[in-house]
Symmetry: C2
Subunit: 378 residues, 2 copies
C-alpha cells in the first residue's frame, strides 16, 4: 500500500510514523532500563498499532482512561492495565468482567466513600481487585494530599480479602501550565516527592504499597530524578501537539499528528481562506489559548507538512475551518487555489484524534503506507 | 426494553424522545403546508431514527454536512440530498458514486474557481450534478453577496450539460449571535430577502433557479415571512441546547439531549465535585462563553433531568468533569455522594452528540426504551 495524499478525501487524520517512533524513543531513552518502567497512556491514540509501538513491539503495561480501552487492549494481549480515572460504582461489574478474563486491573480512588463502596461491592467475591490511591501533588484535579491524614483512613477502608492496596498514583496535570524548563523540573520533582512521601506513609503504617506511579508528558520528559518511582505514565508524548510545543517539551517539527484538509473557498476581503476541516475534524480544543502563543484551532502547514508561518485556523464550524494570518491582517491572507491541500497541526492530539476513526499512516516518502483504526466510546 | 438509568455505565448520551418530538412538531407547525418545505439537517443527530422522525416517518429531503452522511442516509432510502459544505475537487468521485446509486445530490459552491473545477471534472460524463450557489446573507462564513456581480459569473462558469444550476442556498449562521426576538426576526428577513434577491438575479439572467434554500434553527423558528423561499434547513432544533436557550429560541426544559454522568470524587476545599463526564463525553464546545449566561461546559441536572440551578461544569479533562457553583463560591458546592448520577445539558448538541456512538432513548417513564446508533467520519 502506497497511496498518494492527493488520492485521499479530506478531512483525514495523518500520522507520521517516523516522528512517532522518534518521540517514543526519546521518552524511553530517558527512563531507567531495564523493566516495565514506562506504562504508556493509550487514551491519546486508542490504537493497537500505536500501543504496541510504545511497548516495544509486544504488549506491556498500559494506562487507560476508559474500560472500553481496557476491553480492547486486553483482547489484543495487554493484560496489565491501570484504569486511571476514579472508579464509579456503576463500572464495577464491568471491572469484574475484565478480572474474570484474566486482566490484572488496577483502579484508583481518593476517598473513604469510594473505598467503602468498593469493598462493599467486593464483599464475598472470589476476585481480587488491585487499587491505587490517587495522590494530589499539584492541586490540579483529584487526589489526596501526600501528607493528609485522610490517606491512611482510605487505606484502612480498603481492608478486604478481595482488595489489594498496591500503592499510589499521581498525575501532575498542572505541568501543562509550566512555562520554563526550571518550572517543569520543579514540578516533576514535586510530583515525584509527593508520590514517594505518600507511599512511604502507607508503608510506615504497614501497607506494602509497592507501586509508585507518576506521570505526565511534560514531567516525564524533564524529571531529573526518579528515585522511589516504580513507573511513569505519559500519553501525548507519542504524537505531541501544539500545547506541548507551547509548554516547551517539543517543537512543531516533532508533532506526528495532523489533519489533511482542502481549501474550499475564500473570503478575500476578510483575509480568510475556508477549508473543510472544522471542529468535527480538529476538535474544539483551544488549549493554546492560555499559552503565550495562541494557535487558534491549529497551525497551518502545506501538504508536505512544512509550517506556513503564522497562518492558523482562526474559527471553526462543524465542517468549515477559517484560515487567516494570526495578526488578522487581510492583506496577508493565504492565497492558494480551491482544492489545495493543507495540513493542520493540532492543539491537543488526544482531542483531535478522538474526532477520527483511524490514522492514515505516512511513510518516509510521504505516501500513505497503512491505515490504523482507532476507537472511542466507553 | 425498559432499562433503568441506574443500570447504565456512565458517561452515556440520553435522548428524551418526547422532547424531541415536541421540538420537531414546533418547527413543522411553523412551516407552510403541504410539501417538502423542511429539509432538516441531519448533521446534528447523524441517526436514522431521528432523521425519520424529522421527516414525518418516511424518508424525505435532507441536508448533510459530509458525504458519509449522504451514503448512510441514501442507503436508508433518503434520496434527495443537499451537501451543504462547499465541494472540494477530491470529493467529486465520491459524489459521482452517490449519483450512480440513484441519489438526487445537490452540491454547493461560491466561486468561479470551484465552478470551473466542477465543470472540468464533469466534462463528458453521463451523470448530471445539481448545484446551488452559496449566498452570503450575513457576513458569517462563505458565499457570494446577493447583489455581487460575481454571482452571474459563477452561474456562467457552471454552464455544462452535466451540471444543472438549481438555485441558491444560504445559512444565517450569524443568527446565533442575535440577542432579542426583534434581532432574530430581522436576521430571518435579511436571510430570506438576500436569498430571494440572488435567485431573482439568476432568473433575470436566464437561469431557472427554482430552489431558494435558507435556514438556521434561530431564523427558522422566528421568520415571519417566507415569501419566495422553497425550503428551510435547520438541524439543532431537533434536540436544542444551551446555546439555543441563550439565543432565546428554547428553554433548558426543551433540551432533549443530555449526558448521564456519575460523581467520582470531591475537592471540598475548592467547592468542586468531580464527575466522569469530561470533554470526551461533553465535547470542548464553549458556545455559551460569548453569551450573557456562560454555562461552562454544561448545566447540571439531577438524574431525572431537573436543573440544579447554577451548578455548571466549570472545567473538563478527557474523562473528568469539575462541577461547581457558577459564582465560584466553595461554600455552595454540590454535596452529593460518590456514585450519584447527574445529567449535563450540552452547550452544543451537534458537538456533544459527535462524541458518542449512540443514544440511550428515554421514554415517558424515564427508563431507556431503545438504543439508536449514530455514526461519524467522512
Amino acid at each position: 500500500m502506497a497511496i498518494e495524499l492527493t488520492a485521499l478525501e479530506t478531512p483525514a487524520l495523518l500520522l507520521d510514523e517516523a516522528r512517532m517512533h522518534a518521540n517514543i524513543t526519546r521518552l524511553r531513552d530517558r527512563l531507567p532500563a531495564p523493566g516495565p518502567f514506562l506504562r504508556p497512556h493509550v487514551k491519546t491514540a486508542k490504537c493497537l498499532e500505536v500501543a504496541l509501538a510504545m511497548s516495544g513491539g509486544v504488549p506491556g503495561p498500559i494506562t487507560v482512561s476508559t474500560l472500553r480501552e481496557a476491553d480492547r487492549f486486553a483482547q489484543a494481549g495487554f493484560r496489565d492495565i491501570v484504569y486511571a480515572v476514579g472508579i464509579s460504582p456503576n463500572k464495577l461489574t464491568h471491572a469484574m468482567a475484565l478480572l474474570a478474563s484474566g486482566v490484572q486491573l488496577s483502579v484508583i480512588l481518593d476517598s473513604v466513600e469510594a473505598a467503602s463502596a468498593l469493598t462493599a461491592f467486593m464483599q464475598g467475591r472470589p476476585e481480587r481487585l488491585d487499587v491505587l490511591i490517587e495522590i494530589d501533588t499539584d492541586g490540579h484535579r483529584g487526589g489526596i494530599a501526600p501528607a493528609a491524614p485522610e490517606l491512611l483512613v482510605v487505606a484502612d477502608a480498603l481492608r478486604s480479602p478481595s482488595v489489594r492496596l498496591q500503592g499510589v498514583l499521581t498525575h501532575a496535570g498542572e505541568s501543562y501550565n509550566c512555562r520554563s524548563t526550571g518550572a517543569l523540573e520543579a514540578m516533576a520533582e514535586q510530583e515525584r516527592a509527593g508520590a514517594v512521601l505518600a507511599a512511604q506513609r502507607l508503608r510506615a503504617a504497614g501497607y506494602p504499597a509497592p507501586v509508585v506511579s507518576i506521570g505526565s508528558t511534560p514531567t516525564a520528559l524533564t524529571a531529573r530524578d526518579l528515585s522511589g518511582v516504580t513507573e511513569v505514565r505519559a500519553g501525548v508524548f507519542v504524537f505531541f501537539d501544539l500545547v506541548m510545543a507551547g509548554v516547551g517539551v517539543c517543537t512543531p517539527h516533532d508533532i506526528a499528528l495532523s489533519v489533511l484538509t482542502s481549501v474550499i473557498g475564500h473570503q478575500r476581503d476578510k483575509g480568510v481562506t475556508l477549508c473543510d476541516a472544522g471542529w468535527m475534524a480538529l476538535s474544539r480544543d483551544r488549549g493554546t489559548a492560555s499559552q503565550p502563543v495562541d494557535q487558534g484551532y491549529g497551525l497551518v502547514c502545506d501538504a508536505q507538512g512544512r509550517v506556513l508561518p503564522d497562518f492558523i485556523v482562526t474559527a471553526v464550524n462543524q465542517e468549515h475551518g477559517s484560515i487567516a494570518h494570526r495578526n488578522g491582517d487581510p492583506g496577508r491572507y493565504l492565497d492558494v487555489p480551491v482544492g489545495t491541500m493543507l495540513r493542520i497541526l493540532p492543539n491537543h492530539a488526544c482531542a483531535t484524534g478522538a474526532q477520527h476513526e483511524g490514522y492514515q499512516v505516512l511513510g518516509q516518502d510521504g505516501t500513505v503506507t497503512a491505515r490504523w483504526p482507532r476507537f472511542g466510546g466507553w
